[in-house]
Symmetry: C2
Subunit: 117 residues, 2 copies
């Protein structure tokens, strides 16, 4: 009945070929998920989940990261006890050229317009 | 109690300033709504709701068009008995430069990859 720890710590990701535009757009359509992606794009490095201080419960936060991972926007790996998040920019740029950059630019422009940049 | 017909036939739209990126991405994240937007972008003219043959019930179809209208992606007006749909390309391009085109290109690329173009 018991599952080996090594197995439970492997997180499922879609391959590049399995990533779908609709899923990516859905993942990016939530303000909190979009802010996580903007942070990752700005830092250009892996960040732990605890880096992101989202004004939601832990389980909601975990849900948002799962949506981002399962849609193919993020790669999540355990490094020691930390769950690290990286943007799958190469995959997204290869599949949907210019999409991620236009969404990031749109998000920055909107934040500026709304005085939240 | 009765509402004047002229009032009921006016459909609510966000102004350009009220359009939000998250709402637009959500509207575009559904395969059927995305196909409606692709059709409108290709035709480059207003199309009636009945032009679109979606494999869903009438009420689901109406829901999809409402999501597209309320997010600011489409403009819907009654012309006689037909509800006509137009893409709000000028508004979207002004707010989010390059976004609509990159989504349309991504959708075309994906349809081609999946053999559905």
């Amino acid at each position: 009945m018991a599952t080996a720890p090594s197995t439970t710590r492997e997180l499922a990701h879609p391959t590049r070929e399995e990533i779908r535009l609709e899923g990516v757009l859905h993942a990016l359509s939530d303000p909190m998920r979009l802010s996580v992606v903007r942070d990752l794009a700005e830092q250009d490095e892996e960040l732990s989940c605890s880096h992101f201080v989202l004004p939601v419960t832990k389980s909601t936060s975990t849900h948002h990261f799962r949506v981002l991972r399962e849609s193919g926007v993020l790669q999540q790996v355990y490094r020691g006890t930390a769950k690290m998040n990286g943007l799958r920019r190469d995959d997204l740029d290869a599949l949907f050229p210019g999409l991620l950059d236009s969404v990031l630019a749109a998000a920055a422009g909107q934040a500026h317009r709304l005085g939240r940049s």
